[in-house]
């Protein structure tokens, strides 16, 4: 009887070794956010990947590459030599790097505008970087109530979809959206918003956000005593009052779940080209809100 049990266990182990996955993580750079996301994804993958097999005998293989440090052709050769089961692309550059890979499933992260890289590819899916306009304004209203009209300056070429979606989805807020094709238009457009809005909404748009325009936004905020709703925490130091961002751990966990589903055989089309991270968080610069004489009800 013992021999039978040993033989069954041995066969199970042999089979289980085939269930260990080779996953490659490709990062745009080796900078802090990418490294942090790499670490979070690894941790989440270890939690989310199928529990079948003996990890102590044959763990999953997760190999990371940083495009900012290594020779791209060499990275390509190594990835092809590794023949991974799945590739996790962190950052726009990493996703762009994998655009010629058609057979291997790809899960992306930290890609603000993934649409131009996906292009109807069947093997690509990922987690949205950022929250929807509705989620952001919900968080805004949660902490700073009373805001009705929100001004936004955007480049239709870059963030037109986001703003248009917001125009259609926002119900509790009136969005005053002014298009800009040149950063030099921003100060003038801000003058147009003067007295017409209760808050400014920053969108991740390279046209309308740079060091000078950001200063314009902050000056406008100070002069008109209205808060600036930012999409990343770094703008709090510049003078934004509140930043509503996606929780990185939630993004990593969602990505690990997507990976797990794919390696277990789920169809990427069924998953979709983008999935929501689901959980966001709001960070408030209380010094700014104090200077703007804003009463934070929720905090109270």
């Amino acid at each position: 009887m013992k021999k039978v049990i040993f033989a069954i266990t041995l066969c199970f182990c042999i089979v289980s070794t085939a269930a260990a996955y080779d996953i490659v993580v490709v990062k745009s750079r080796s900078a802090g956010p990418y490294e942090e996301m790499d670490r979070l994804v690894r941790a989440a993958l270890l939690q989310e990947l199928p529990a079948s097999g003996q990890k102590s005998i044959q763990p999953h293989s997760i190999t990371s590459f940083s495009l900012g440090e290594e020779d791209l052709p060499a990275v390509t050769e190594r990835i092809q030599a590794a023949s991974p089961d799945l590739i996790v692309a962190i950052g726009s550059k990493a996703l762009q790097f994998t655009e010629k890979i058609e057979q291997t499933p790809i899960v992306y992260l930290l890609v603000p505008a993934p649409e131009k890289y996906v292009n109807n590819r069947d093997n690509v899916t990922g987690v949205r970087f950022g929250l929807s306009a509705q989620s952001q304004f919900n968080q805004l209203s949660r902490y700073i109530p009373g805001i009705k009209r929100v001004g936004v300056i955007y480049d239709p070429e870059r963030t037109g979809d986001l703003v248009h979606q917001a125009l259609f989805t926002l119900t509790d807020h009136e969005l005053v959206a002014l298009p800009a094709n040149n950063p030099r238009d921003v100060p003038a457009l801000l003058k147009q918003l003067q007295g017409r809005v209760d808050a400014l909404w920053l969108v991740p748009d390279l046209t309308v956000i740079n060091s000078v325009t950001l200063e314009s936004y902050i000056h406008f905020s100070m002069e008109n005593k209205i808060p600036v709703l930012a999409f990343a925490e770094k703008y709090l130091d510049k003078g934004a009052a509140i930043a509503v961002t996606v929780d990185k751990e939630a993004m990593a966990e969602m990505a690990a779940q997507v990976v797990s589903r794919i390696v277990r055989g789920a169809d990427i089309k069924a998953i979709g080209s983008v999935v929501e991270a689901g959980r966001g968080k709001a960070v408030i610069n209380r010094k700014i809100t104090a200077k703007l004489n804003i009463v934070l009800t929720w905090m109270e």
């Binding site: 956010p33 726009s92 030099r184 390279l206 956000i209 740079n210 000078v212 000056h219 990343a232 770094k234």
Partner: protein, 733 residues
Amino acid sequence: MVSVSLPKQIRGSFGAKLLSVMIFLIAALTMLFHLFLAQLQRSSHNQYITNTGIAMARVLAESITLDVFAENLHGMKAPVLAIFNQDDVLGVAVFNTNKELLYSRQKEENGKESHSWQQMIQSIGPAHPPQLTETEEAFVFRHPVFYSVSAEREEDLYFSNPEQMLDAENIGYVVLALSVKGKQGHMQEALSHTVFSTIVFLLLGVLLISLVVRRITSPLSSLLRKVRASAGIQDHEDDFDLLSKTFDSQFNELRETFTVINVLKEKLEKTNRDLAADIAMRQQVEAALRKRDHILAAVNHATAKLLESNEWIPFIKEMVDELGHQWQVGAIRVMKHHVDADGDVIADLQHEWISEEVRASIDNLKRRNLSYSKLGFESWLECFQKGEMVSGNSDDMSPAVRSWLDDRGVKSIALAPIMVEKKCWGFMSSATFDRRVDWPEPELDALQAAARIIGAAVHREDMTRELEGKRAQLAHAGRLTAMGEMASGMAHEINQPLTVINLSADACASYFKKNEPESPEAEASEDIRLQVKKIARIIDNMRVFSGRASGGMKFLNPAYPVQDALAFFRVQFRAHKIDLQEDISEDLPEVKTEAQKFEQIVVNFLSNARYAVDKRAETEDGLVRKVVVRLFHRTLSREQITSFGGDPEFFYSGQAIVLEVQDNGTGMDDTVKSRCLEPFFTTKDVGEGTGLGLSVTHGLVRELGFYLAMESRPDEGSIFRVFIPVKQGEHHV
């Protein structure tokens, strides 16, 4: 201490001059120092203005970035005015990247704006770094206005990434003009400080020097005052005068010291020059000695070969060639003297060595023989005959010699006579064609040594040739001796039948004298008897000449041996057409002698006389050959006896019998005369004489106790005299 009379006291004083120089130096150094400080302050002020201007421009550029970005003129007004209101700011201007003036403010001077911003910004290059331009009125600073691009991709908008390099975009310029009046005022202030400080330091310096001088001279002046006071001298010499004298005395001592040093230095330099010249001369001597060693080695080598061979011509050629290579001269020649038909001494070329360079450079070497008298080289010949060398450069020679040498391209020449038996056989010369030479003594010694070797070689060949002649004469003498032996034997053998013939002839003569006195047989028998006697006398003479019939010393009349000797030669002389004159005195005292030897003396004299007259007749046609034989008695004085080396003690009362044989033949010169008595010396050709005739004759004369004297002149003839002393006890017959 600085009294009113100070200028007069210090005028002309070395110490005062020194003091003036020191004051001047202090003033100059002070001024230079303050000018240096002023320059430092100017540089510092320039740096300060530069830093201030750049800082103000930078602050303005940073503060109006947004307004420049948006070209918001109203927004940039306040920051511009804030800068413009500074004291030294003459104007502020803001340009966009198209160099279009956005905003400017200027302070007016005399109702006009002092700067054209548009021209100014266009004159400045497009470079981004801040720039400074200095004009006559202002420092103009330009600073670019940037705004930074904070993100490359949308995701960069989410993260603060300090490692990311942000691009900066130039959106305009800020131009700031600062007045130079502040700088000029500052410089004037610095200059004023310099002048003031110079004056102050000058006064302090003079004061300090005065104090130092007083400090130095106070013990001396105190001592001097005390000495003067003790001496009762009241006049006062102030410190400057004292110091001046001290300086003057020390200066004079220093000057004398320098003079001594200069003299010593000149002596040292002269010694060095002499030493260098001595070293150079020594090196030249050493080089000459080395060359002489080489030459002497060549000479020694040649000498060794000479000793191994009797031929001197090949040896001379080899030696001259070796000398030429070792000596490194242009040419070496060996010349031999001879006398031409005119009696001139001519030097014939025997051998020469000419270097390749000379052979290539000089086409015509003109190796003709040299006639001393015709070329005017008598002085050379005189030197050679005295065994003296001749050397020098062509410039130092007589005009004739110099012309001759220049014609042959000779620059310098050295000649050594080749002496053979104290006579000049020729000379050996060494010549240079490319340089003048001060012939060193060692090289001249070497040349002379080579010439001596050549002389020895020539002499050795002469001696060898002479020795061969002597050997031939000796062999001839041997043959004559053998002939004498044979003649003696023949005479002995002939004598016996001749005695029988004589006896028979006597018997026949007696018979025919008695029986047929008038018959031809009587006459024939008488002729036979006379001819037999004649044959007997000839045989006797042969026996006597060969020595077999020597009868020893005995008293006899010397006329008899003379007559016997003449009997041999009368027929010969007639055959040779020689006039033989006989003056034989029969009235002579008998002397003790050997007749054969005395007869041989006469024979030898006559034989030589015959040869001499025949020899002269060969060259003189029509010569009457004459030989005179005299024998007479004479009483001689003591001086006459000693004149031919005789001892007066052997001549009783000075009496002597004199034999004279005189001829008019070739005669002898002094050399031949001095050597004619030597054994084997002859002037005859080989085979004609043995060289023993006169030598044997002299030996016989001395053996018999006679004395020989001769007189001879070339081409005049000779007289041989034999003095036979008549001794006491020898009686007159």
